[in-house]
Protein backbone atom coordinates (compact mmCIF):
# COMPACT_ATOMS: atom_id res chain seq x y z
CA UNK A 1 0.00 0.00 0.00
CA UNK A 2 1.67 3.25 -1.09
CA UNK A 3 2.07 5.69 1.79
CA UNK A 4 1.63 9.43 1.35
CA UNK A 5 0.74 12.64 3.15
CA UNK A 6 -1.87 15.32 2.97
CA UNK A 7 -0.20 18.66 2.24
CA UNK A 8 -2.48 20.33 4.79
CA UNK A 9 -0.93 18.26 7.58
CA UNK A 10 2.56 19.51 6.76
CA UNK A 11 1.96 23.16 5.92
CA UNK A 12 -1.40 24.53 6.84
CA UNK A 13 -3.02 26.12 3.76
CA UNK A 14 0.27 26.14 1.80
CA UNK A 15 0.47 23.19 -0.57
CA UNK A 16 3.60 24.48 -2.35
CA UNK A 17 5.66 24.59 0.84
CA UNK A 18 4.30 21.20 1.86
CA UNK A 19 5.35 19.69 -1.47
CA UNK A 20 8.86 21.09 -1.03
CA UNK A 21 9.12 19.65 2.48
CA UNK A 22 7.89 16.25 1.29
CA UNK A 23 10.20 16.14 -1.75
CA UNK A 24 12.91 14.22 0.13
CA UNK A 25 10.59 11.87 1.96
CA UNK A 26 10.08 8.26 0.89
CA UNK A 27 6.48 8.65 -0.22
CA UNK A 28 4.76 8.10 -3.55
CA UNK A 29 1.26 9.30 -2.81
CA UNK A 30 0.06 12.82 -2.14
CA UNK A 31 -3.18 14.54 -1.29
CA UNK A 32 -3.31 18.20 -2.28
CA UNK A 33 -5.35 19.85 0.43
CA UNK A 34 -7.79 22.70 -0.18
CA UNK A 35 -9.70 22.10 3.00
CA UNK A 36 -10.63 25.74 3.37
CA UNK A 37 -12.53 27.42 0.60
CA UNK A 38 -9.88 30.14 0.10
CA UNK A 39 -7.24 27.45 -0.54
CA UNK A 40 -9.01 26.08 -3.58
CA UNK A 41 -8.42 28.85 -6.08
CA UNK A 42 -4.63 28.97 -5.63
CA UNK A 43 -4.52 25.20 -6.09
CA UNK A 44 -6.75 25.45 -9.14
CA UNK A 45 -4.40 28.02 -10.68
CA UNK A 46 -1.30 25.92 -9.94
CA UNK A 47 -2.73 22.66 -11.19
CA UNK A 48 -0.50 22.37 -14.28
CA UNK A 49 2.66 23.78 -12.71
CA UNK A 50 3.15 21.40 -9.83
CA UNK A 51 6.06 18.96 -9.88
CA UNK A 52 4.30 15.75 -8.99
CA UNK A 53 6.52 13.40 -10.97
CA UNK A 54 7.52 11.29 -7.98
CA UNK A 55 3.94 10.51 -7.04
CA UNK A 56 2.14 7.45 -8.39
CA UNK A 57 -1.05 8.61 -6.73
CA UNK A 58 -2.45 12.14 -6.47
CA UNK A 59 -5.73 13.23 -4.97
CA UNK A 60 -7.30 16.54 -3.97
CA UNK A 61 -9.23 17.34 -0.80
CA UNK A 62 -12.12 19.68 -1.54
CA UNK A 63 -13.18 22.39 0.92
CA UNK A 64 -15.05 21.03 3.91
CA UNK A 65 -17.34 24.09 3.99
CA UNK A 66 -18.79 26.48 1.45
CA UNK A 67 -18.76 30.07 2.55
CA UNK A 68 -18.70 32.32 -0.52
CA UNK A 69 -18.72 29.88 -3.41
CA UNK A 70 -21.99 28.71 -4.85
CA UNK A 71 -22.23 24.93 -4.97
CA UNK A 72 -22.31 24.98 -8.78
CA UNK A 73 -19.13 27.07 -8.95
CA UNK A 74 -17.34 24.82 -6.49
CA UNK A 75 -18.16 21.73 -8.53
CA UNK A 76 -17.08 23.46 -11.76
CA UNK A 77 -13.67 24.17 -10.23
CA UNK A 78 -13.34 20.60 -9.05
CA UNK A 79 -13.98 19.32 -12.58
CA UNK A 80 -10.48 20.53 -13.51
CA UNK A 81 -8.99 18.10 -10.99
CA UNK A 82 -11.22 15.29 -12.17
CA UNK A 83 -9.93 15.86 -15.69
CA UNK A 84 -6.46 15.14 -14.34
CA UNK A 85 -7.96 11.80 -13.12
CA UNK A 86 -7.23 12.80 -9.53
CA UNK A 87 -9.81 11.60 -6.99
CA UNK A 88 -11.49 14.48 -5.22
CA UNK A 89 -12.12 13.86 -1.53
CA UNK A 90 -15.40 15.41 -0.44
CA UNK A 91 -17.17 15.62 2.90
CA UNK A 92 -20.75 14.49 2.22
CA UNK A 93 -22.30 17.25 4.33
CA UNK A 94 -21.33 19.89 1.75
CA UNK A 95 -23.36 18.12 -0.91
CA UNK A 96 -26.77 19.76 -1.16
CA UNK A 97 -27.70 19.40 -4.83
CA UNK A 98 -26.69 15.84 -5.59
CA UNK A 99 -27.22 16.19 -9.35
CA UNK A 100 -24.46 18.79 -9.60
CA UNK A 101 -21.89 16.38 -8.23
CA UNK A 102 -22.63 13.53 -10.64
CA UNK A 103 -20.49 15.26 -13.25
CA UNK A 104 -17.43 14.21 -11.26
CA UNK A 105 -18.32 10.56 -11.85
CA UNK A 106 -15.92 8.09 -10.30
CA UNK A 107 -13.48 10.85 -9.38
CA UNK A 108 -15.83 12.04 -6.64
CA UNK A 109 -14.62 10.36 -3.47
CA UNK A 110 -16.84 10.48 -0.40
CA UNK A 111 -15.12 10.47 2.99
CA UNK A 112 -16.73 9.02 6.13
CA UNK A 113 -17.22 11.63 8.81
CA UNK A 114 -16.49 12.15 12.49
CA UNK A 115 -19.12 12.46 15.23
CA UNK A 116 -19.61 16.23 14.73
CA UNK A 117 -21.13 15.78 11.34
CA UNK A 118 -24.81 15.09 10.65
CA UNK A 119 -24.22 12.41 8.02
CA UNK A 120 -21.72 9.99 6.58
CA UNK A 121 -20.58 8.57 9.91
CA UNK A 122 -21.69 4.96 9.58
CA UNK A 123 -22.03 2.28 6.95
CA UNK A 124 -25.78 2.85 6.69
CA UNK A 125 -25.31 6.61 6.38
CA UNK A 126 -22.83 6.07 3.56
CA UNK A 127 -25.09 3.54 1.87
CA UNK A 128 -27.75 6.23 1.49
CA UNK A 129 -25.19 8.60 0.01
CA UNK A 130 -23.81 6.02 -2.43
CA UNK A 131 -27.36 5.13 -3.48
CA UNK A 132 -27.65 8.69 -4.77
CA UNK A 133 -24.09 8.84 -6.13
CA UNK A 134 -23.43 5.27 -7.28
CA UNK A 135 -20.32 6.13 -9.30
CA UNK A 136 -18.57 7.84 -6.41
CA UNK A 137 -15.55 6.30 -4.72
CA UNK A 138 -14.82 6.05 -1.02
CA UNK A 139 -12.11 7.54 1.17
CA UNK A 140 -12.02 5.60 4.44
CA UNK A 141 -10.87 7.80 7.29
CA UNK A 142 -9.93 5.20 9.89
CA UNK A 143 -9.60 7.80 12.66
CA UNK A 144 -13.12 9.09 12.05
CA UNK A 145 -14.42 5.52 12.01
CA UNK A 146 -12.60 4.76 15.27
CA UNK A 147 -14.05 7.86 16.93
CA UNK A 148 -17.57 6.87 15.88
CA UNK A 149 -17.03 3.28 17.07
CA UNK A 150 -13.87 2.41 19.04
CA UNK A 151 -14.47 -1.34 18.56
CA UNK A 152 -13.78 -0.75 14.82
CA UNK A 153 -16.89 -2.77 13.95
CA UNK A 154 -18.37 0.16 12.03
CA UNK A 155 -15.08 0.50 10.15
CA UNK A 156 -15.13 -3.20 9.32
CA UNK A 157 -18.72 -2.89 8.06
CA UNK A 158 -17.75 0.07 5.87
CA UNK A 159 -14.89 -1.90 4.34
CA UNK A 160 -17.04 -4.97 3.84
CA UNK A 161 -19.79 -2.99 2.15
CA UNK A 162 -17.71 -0.55 0.10
CA UNK A 163 -14.42 -2.34 -0.55
CA UNK A 164 -14.86 -2.06 -4.30
CA UNK A 165 -15.29 1.69 -4.00
CA UNK A 166 -12.21 2.30 -1.88
CA UNK A 167 -9.85 4.81 -3.50
CA UNK A 168 -7.70 5.77 -0.54
CA UNK A 169 -7.32 5.78 3.24
CA UNK A 170 -6.97 8.71 5.57
CA UNK A 171 -4.79 7.78 8.51
CA UNK A 172 -4.12 9.63 11.77
CA UNK A 173 -5.79 9.63 15.14
CA UNK A 174 -8.57 11.96 16.23
CA UNK A 175 -9.29 13.41 19.68
CA UNK A 176 -12.68 13.55 21.36
CA UNK A 177 -12.84 17.16 20.10
CA UNK A 178 -12.41 15.76 16.59
CA UNK A 179 -8.93 17.24 16.07
CA UNK A 180 -6.48 15.17 14.05
CA UNK A 181 -3.34 14.09 15.89
CA UNK A 182 -0.41 11.80 14.98
CA UNK A 183 -0.56 8.04 15.29
CA UNK A 184 -0.23 6.54 18.76
CA UNK A 185 -0.33 3.11 20.36
CA UNK A 186 -4.07 3.05 20.81
CA UNK A 187 -4.77 4.07 17.22
CA UNK A 188 -2.26 1.54 15.88
CA UNK A 189 -3.89 -1.26 17.89
CA UNK A 190 -7.30 -0.26 16.54
CA UNK A 191 -6.19 -0.11 12.90
CA UNK A 192 -4.47 -3.48 13.11
CA UNK A 193 -7.93 -4.99 13.62
CA UNK A 194 -9.06 -4.04 10.11
CA UNK A 195 -5.93 -3.76 7.98
CA UNK A 196 -6.22 -7.30 6.63
CA UNK A 197 -9.56 -6.45 4.99
CA UNK A 198 -8.09 -3.59 2.92
CA UNK A 199 -6.95 -3.98 -0.70
CA UNK A 200 -3.17 -4.34 -0.91
CA UNK A 201 -2.64 -1.50 -3.37
CA UNK A 202 -4.78 1.08 -1.58
CA UNK A 203 -3.02 4.45 -1.14
CA UNK A 204 -2.61 5.52 2.48
CA UNK A 205 -2.71 9.29 3.03
CA UNK A 206 -1.43 10.42 6.41
CA UNK A 207 -3.36 13.27 8.00
CA UNK A 208 -1.21 13.42 11.11
CA UNK A 209 -0.49 17.13 11.67
CA UNK A 210 3.28 17.67 11.73
CA UNK A 211 3.80 21.43 11.52
CA UNK A 212 7.11 23.10 10.91
CA UNK A 213 9.81 22.62 13.58
CA UNK A 214 13.49 21.71 13.64
CA UNK A 215 12.52 18.07 13.92
CA UNK A 216 9.74 18.16 11.34
CA UNK A 217 11.59 16.05 8.75
CA UNK A 218 12.40 13.39 11.29
CA UNK A 219 8.85 13.32 12.65
CA UNK A 220 7.42 13.01 9.13
CA UNK A 221 9.75 10.10 8.43
CA UNK A 222 8.77 8.42 11.71
CA UNK A 223 5.09 8.79 10.93
CA UNK A 224 5.62 7.29 7.47
CA UNK A 225 7.50 4.38 9.04
CA UNK A 226 4.72 3.80 11.58
CA UNK A 227 2.12 3.79 8.84
CA UNK A 228 4.30 1.40 6.85
CA UNK A 229 4.47 -0.99 9.81
CA UNK A 230 0.69 -1.03 10.10
CA UNK A 231 -0.36 -1.08 6.47
CA UNK A 232 2.44 -2.65 4.50
CA UNK A 233 3.16 -5.78 6.44
CA UNK A 234 -0.18 -7.58 6.32
CA UNK A 235 -1.49 -9.74 3.51
CA UNK A 236 -4.91 -8.71 2.36
CA UNK A 237 -7.85 -11.10 2.58
CA UNK A 238 -11.14 -11.00 0.76
CA UNK A 239 -14.54 -11.42 2.43
Amino acid sequence: MPIGFSTGSIAHGDFKTALQILQDQDIHAIELSALREDELHPLFLAINDLDLAKYNYVSVHAPSKRIQLAEKDLVNMLVAFAEKTWPIIVHPDIICEVDLWRILGNKLCIENMDKRKPCGRTMLDLKQIFNELPEAGFCLDVAHAKQVDPTMTECYLMIREFRDKLLQLHVSDVTTESNHIPLNEQAIAAYQKIVKYLPEDLPVILESPIPFSVTQKERIANEIALAGDIFQSHPSMSF
Binding site: L124, V148, P150, T151, T153, E154, L157, R160, K196
Partner: protein, 269 residues
Protein backbone atom coordinates in the same frame (compact mmCIF):
# COMPACT_ATOMS: atom_id res chain seq x y z
CA UNK B 1 -29.36 17.39 27.49
CA UNK B 2 -29.88 13.75 28.43
CA UNK B 3 -32.29 14.70 31.25
CA UNK B 4 -34.29 16.87 28.85
CA UNK B 5 -34.58 13.99 26.41
CA UNK B 6 -35.49 11.54 29.15
CA UNK B 7 -38.29 13.84 30.34
CA UNK B 8 -39.49 14.23 26.77
CA UNK B 9 -39.75 10.44 26.40
CA UNK B 10 -41.58 10.19 29.73
CA UNK B 11 -44.08 12.79 28.56
CA UNK B 12 -44.67 10.98 25.24
CA UNK B 13 -45.27 7.70 27.04
CA UNK B 14 -47.92 9.31 29.26
CA UNK B 15 -49.54 11.22 26.36
CA UNK B 16 -49.93 8.00 24.40
CA UNK B 17 -51.44 6.11 27.31
CA UNK B 18 -48.66 3.52 27.35
CA UNK B 19 -47.80 1.49 30.44
CA UNK B 20 -45.08 3.15 32.47
CA UNK B 21 -41.69 1.49 32.90
CA UNK B 22 -40.83 -0.87 35.75
CA UNK B 23 -41.70 0.70 39.08
CA UNK B 24 -38.54 -0.91 40.54
CA UNK B 25 -36.58 1.60 38.46
CA UNK B 26 -34.54 -0.53 36.07
CA UNK B 27 -36.05 1.56 33.30
CA UNK B 28 -37.59 4.97 33.04
CA UNK B 29 -34.32 6.58 34.15
CA UNK B 30 -31.20 7.65 32.34
CA UNK B 31 -28.26 5.32 32.65
CA UNK B 32 -24.63 5.73 31.68
CA UNK B 33 -23.32 3.70 28.78
CA UNK B 34 -20.05 3.47 30.73
CA UNK B 35 -21.67 1.19 33.31
CA UNK B 36 -23.30 -1.00 30.70
CA UNK B 37 -20.06 -1.42 28.77
CA UNK B 38 -17.51 -1.69 31.55
CA UNK B 39 -19.30 -3.40 34.43
CA UNK B 40 -19.82 -6.92 33.18
CA UNK B 41 -19.50 -9.27 36.13
CA UNK B 42 -17.92 -8.21 39.38
CA UNK B 43 -19.30 -6.16 42.25
CA UNK B 44 -20.41 -3.19 40.18
CA UNK B 45 -22.58 -5.32 37.92
CA UNK B 46 -25.84 -4.88 39.80
CA UNK B 47 -29.14 -6.55 39.00
CA UNK B 48 -30.23 -3.33 37.30
CA UNK B 49 -27.04 -3.13 35.27
CA UNK B 50 -27.31 -6.73 34.03
CA UNK B 51 -30.97 -6.20 33.15
CA UNK B 52 -30.31 -3.01 31.22
CA UNK B 53 -27.27 -4.40 29.41
CA UNK B 54 -28.75 -7.72 28.34
CA UNK B 55 -32.08 -6.21 27.34
CA UNK B 56 -30.13 -3.68 25.27
CA UNK B 57 -29.00 -6.67 23.24
CA UNK B 58 -32.24 -8.65 23.33
CA UNK B 59 -35.09 -6.19 22.88
CA UNK B 60 -33.98 -2.59 22.59
CA UNK B 61 -34.87 -0.13 19.87
CA UNK B 62 -33.32 3.24 19.22
CA UNK B 63 -35.32 6.45 19.32
CA UNK B 64 -34.19 9.13 16.88
CA UNK B 65 -35.03 12.63 18.01
CA UNK B 66 -34.41 14.64 14.91
CA UNK B 67 -33.88 14.27 11.23
CA UNK B 68 -30.22 15.22 11.76
CA UNK B 69 -29.25 11.95 13.37
CA UNK B 70 -30.59 9.40 10.96
CA UNK B 71 -29.19 6.09 12.04
CA UNK B 72 -28.73 6.03 15.82
CA UNK B 73 -24.95 6.33 15.85
CA UNK B 74 -24.78 6.63 19.63
CA UNK B 75 -26.98 3.57 20.04
CA UNK B 76 -24.77 1.54 17.69
CA UNK B 77 -21.67 2.68 19.53
CA UNK B 78 -23.02 1.47 22.86
CA UNK B 79 -24.20 -1.85 21.44
CA UNK B 80 -20.84 -2.35 19.72
CA UNK B 81 -19.10 -1.37 22.94
CA UNK B 82 -21.02 -3.92 24.98
CA UNK B 83 -20.53 -6.68 22.41
CA UNK B 84 -16.88 -5.67 22.13
CA UNK B 85 -16.35 -6.27 25.83
CA UNK B 86 -17.89 -9.74 25.64
CA UNK B 87 -15.93 -10.69 22.54
CA UNK B 88 -12.56 -9.08 23.20
CA UNK B 89 -12.35 -10.49 26.73
CA UNK B 90 -13.47 -14.01 25.88
CA UNK B 91 -10.32 -16.10 26.16
CA UNK B 92 -11.98 -19.00 24.34
CA UNK B 93 -12.43 -16.90 21.22
CA UNK B 94 -8.73 -16.07 21.14
CA UNK B 95 -7.66 -19.68 20.71
CA UNK B 96 -6.78 -20.37 17.08
CA UNK B 97 -8.43 -23.22 15.15
CA UNK B 98 -10.89 -24.03 17.91
CA UNK B 99 -14.59 -24.13 17.20
CA UNK B 100 -16.46 -22.44 20.03
CA UNK B 101 -19.28 -20.04 20.90
CA UNK B 102 -18.86 -16.66 22.62
CA UNK B 103 -19.04 -18.12 26.13
CA UNK B 104 -18.67 -14.86 28.06
CA UNK B 105 -21.81 -13.56 26.30
CA UNK B 106 -23.62 -16.89 26.60
CA UNK B 107 -22.98 -17.10 30.32
CA UNK B 108 -24.41 -13.62 30.80
CA UNK B 109 -27.50 -14.53 28.77
CA UNK B 110 -28.01 -17.59 31.00
CA UNK B 111 -27.33 -15.50 34.11
CA UNK B 112 -29.94 -12.97 33.00
CA UNK B 113 -32.55 -15.65 32.35
CA UNK B 114 -31.94 -17.18 35.78
CA UNK B 115 -31.98 -13.68 37.31
CA UNK B 116 -35.44 -13.10 35.84
CA UNK B 117 -36.60 -16.42 37.29
CA UNK B 118 -35.17 -15.65 40.72
CA UNK B 119 -36.57 -12.10 40.66
CA UNK B 120 -39.99 -13.54 39.86
CA UNK B 121 -39.84 -15.68 42.99
CA UNK B 122 -38.51 -12.71 44.97
CA UNK B 123 -41.43 -10.51 43.89
CA UNK B 124 -43.81 -13.31 44.79
CA UNK B 125 -42.30 -13.36 48.27
CA UNK B 126 -42.20 -9.56 48.64
CA UNK B 127 -45.71 -8.98 47.38
CA UNK B 128 -47.32 -11.95 49.10
CA UNK B 129 -48.28 -13.55 45.79
CA UNK B 130 -50.28 -10.56 44.59
CA UNK B 131 -50.41 -9.82 40.83
CA UNK B 132 -48.66 -13.12 40.36
CA UNK B 133 -50.42 -14.48 37.27
CA UNK B 134 -49.38 -11.85 34.73
CA UNK B 135 -45.76 -12.02 35.84
CA UNK B 136 -45.83 -15.81 35.65
CA UNK B 137 -47.33 -15.91 32.17
CA UNK B 138 -44.87 -13.31 30.88
CA UNK B 139 -41.91 -15.16 32.41
CA UNK B 140 -42.95 -18.41 30.74
CA UNK B 141 -43.55 -16.77 27.36
CA UNK B 142 -42.05 -13.38 26.46
CA UNK B 143 -39.14 -13.44 28.91
CA UNK B 144 -38.30 -17.01 27.91
CA UNK B 145 -38.42 -16.04 24.25
CA UNK B 146 -35.83 -13.34 24.92
CA UNK B 147 -33.56 -15.97 26.42
CA UNK B 148 -34.13 -18.11 23.33
CA UNK B 149 -32.89 -15.18 21.24
CA UNK B 150 -29.81 -14.90 23.45
CA UNK B 151 -29.06 -18.60 23.07
CA UNK B 152 -29.51 -18.46 19.30
CA UNK B 153 -27.24 -15.44 19.03
CA UNK B 154 -24.46 -17.31 20.80
CA UNK B 155 -25.03 -20.75 19.28
CA UNK B 156 -25.08 -19.29 15.76
CA UNK B 157 -21.47 -18.23 16.33
CA UNK B 158 -20.26 -21.80 16.88
CA UNK B 159 -17.27 -21.86 14.55
CA UNK B 160 -13.54 -21.20 14.36
CA UNK B 161 -13.16 -17.48 14.83
CA UNK B 162 -10.53 -15.37 13.17
CA UNK B 163 -11.36 -11.79 14.09
CA UNK B 164 -13.29 -10.10 16.91
CA UNK B 165 -14.71 -7.41 14.60
CA UNK B 166 -16.41 -10.10 12.49
CA UNK B 167 -18.06 -11.65 15.54
CA UNK B 168 -19.20 -8.25 16.84
CA UNK B 169 -20.59 -7.33 13.41
CA UNK B 170 -22.51 -10.63 13.19
CA UNK B 171 -23.89 -10.30 16.71
CA UNK B 172 -24.89 -6.71 16.08
CA UNK B 173 -26.96 -7.75 13.09
CA UNK B 174 -28.81 -10.17 15.35
CA UNK B 175 -29.43 -7.55 18.04
CA UNK B 176 -31.79 -5.80 15.61
CA UNK B 177 -33.94 -8.87 15.11
CA UNK B 178 -37.06 -9.96 16.98
CA UNK B 179 -36.53 -13.46 18.46
CA UNK B 180 -38.79 -15.05 15.85
CA UNK B 181 -37.02 -13.20 13.04
CA UNK B 182 -33.74 -14.62 14.30
CA UNK B 183 -35.19 -18.10 14.66
CA UNK B 184 -36.50 -18.04 11.09
CA UNK B 185 -33.24 -16.63 9.72
CA UNK B 186 -31.32 -19.50 11.36
CA UNK B 187 -33.75 -22.24 10.35
CA UNK B 188 -31.50 -23.73 7.67
CA UNK B 189 -28.35 -23.25 9.73
CA UNK B 190 -29.72 -25.26 12.66
CA UNK B 191 -31.87 -27.67 10.64
CA UNK B 192 -35.08 -26.61 12.37
CA UNK B 193 -38.32 -28.28 11.40
CA UNK B 194 -41.19 -26.22 10.05
CA UNK B 195 -43.59 -27.93 12.45
CA UNK B 196 -41.67 -26.76 15.51
CA UNK B 197 -41.49 -23.17 14.33
CA UNK B 198 -45.19 -23.12 13.46
CA UNK B 199 -46.02 -24.53 16.88
CA UNK B 200 -43.94 -21.89 18.66
CA UNK B 201 -45.56 -19.12 16.65
CA UNK B 202 -49.00 -20.54 17.30
CA UNK B 203 -48.52 -20.74 21.06
CA UNK B 204 -46.97 -17.28 21.17
CA UNK B 205 -49.85 -15.90 19.18
CA UNK B 206 -52.29 -17.36 21.69
CA UNK B 207 -50.35 -15.61 24.47
CA UNK B 208 -50.36 -12.28 22.62
CA UNK B 209 -54.07 -12.55 21.81
CA UNK B 210 -54.87 -12.92 25.49
CA UNK B 211 -52.69 -9.97 26.47
CA UNK B 212 -54.09 -7.73 23.78
CA UNK B 213 -57.61 -8.21 25.16
CA UNK B 214 -58.00 -5.38 27.71
CA UNK B 215 -60.37 -7.35 29.96
CA UNK B 216 -58.17 -10.45 30.02
CA UNK B 217 -55.10 -8.31 30.59
CA UNK B 218 -56.67 -6.53 33.55
CA UNK B 219 -57.92 -9.84 34.97
CA UNK B 220 -54.47 -11.41 34.77
CA UNK B 221 -52.76 -8.35 36.21
CA UNK B 222 -54.97 -8.50 39.29
CA UNK B 223 -54.90 -12.28 39.70
CA UNK B 224 -52.82 -13.43 42.66
CA UNK B 225 -51.10 -16.76 43.35
CA UNK B 226 -53.81 -17.90 45.74
CA UNK B 227 -56.51 -17.91 43.03
CA UNK B 228 -54.46 -18.50 39.87
CA UNK B 229 -54.56 -22.28 39.61
CA UNK B 230 -58.36 -22.36 39.75
CA UNK B 231 -58.79 -19.50 37.29
CA UNK B 232 -59.96 -20.55 33.78
CA UNK B 233 -57.95 -17.89 31.94
CA UNK B 234 -54.76 -18.65 33.83
CA UNK B 235 -55.25 -22.40 33.32
CA UNK B 236 -55.67 -21.82 29.59
CA UNK B 237 -52.49 -19.77 29.41
CA UNK B 238 -50.63 -22.27 31.57
CA UNK B 239 -51.32 -24.92 28.94
CA UNK B 240 -50.04 -22.51 26.27
CA UNK B 241 -46.90 -21.99 28.33
CA UNK B 242 -46.45 -25.73 28.89
CA UNK B 243 -46.74 -26.38 25.15
CA UNK B 244 -44.35 -23.55 24.34
CA UNK B 245 -41.80 -25.05 26.75
CA UNK B 246 -42.26 -28.57 25.40
CA UNK B 247 -41.56 -27.38 21.87
CA UNK B 248 -38.48 -25.49 23.00
CA UNK B 249 -37.33 -28.57 24.93
CA UNK B 250 -37.65 -30.61 21.75
CA UNK B 251 -35.66 -28.08 19.71
CA UNK B 252 -32.92 -27.40 22.23
CA UNK B 253 -32.65 -30.67 24.13
CA UNK B 254 -34.34 -33.79 22.82
CA UNK B 255 -34.24 -33.71 19.03
CA UNK B 256 -30.85 -34.75 17.71
CA UNK B 257 -29.21 -31.87 15.95
CA UNK B 258 -26.94 -28.85 16.19
CA UNK B 259 -28.93 -27.06 18.87
CA UNK B 260 -29.22 -30.01 21.25
CA UNK B 261 -25.50 -30.72 20.81
CA UNK B 262 -24.69 -27.13 21.68
CA UNK B 263 -27.05 -27.09 24.66
CA UNK B 264 -25.38 -30.21 26.00
CA UNK B 265 -21.89 -28.88 25.35
CA UNK B 266 -22.32 -25.37 26.72
CA UNK B 267 -25.65 -25.17 28.51
CA UNK B 268 -24.86 -26.76 31.85
CA UNK B 269 -21.13 -26.74 32.70
Amino acid sequence: MHLKEAKSIEKKIKENGLGEPSPAGAFGNTTLSHDLVHYIGGENDTNQNITRRVLLLLESEKIVFSSVQTDGTAYNRVVNGVLGQYVNHDSGLLRPNKETIPKFLFNDMVRFWRTMCVDFANKQKDQGGQKWAMRNVKLRMSRKLLFVKGMLMCFSQNKVHTAPVEIIADLREMVKLHPFELLLSKKEHFGLEDRDIIDLLTYYNQFLSALSDPEKRTHLTNLGLKDAFDDPLYKELKIVGDNFKKTLDQIFIYKKGKLSNLTLKYGIF
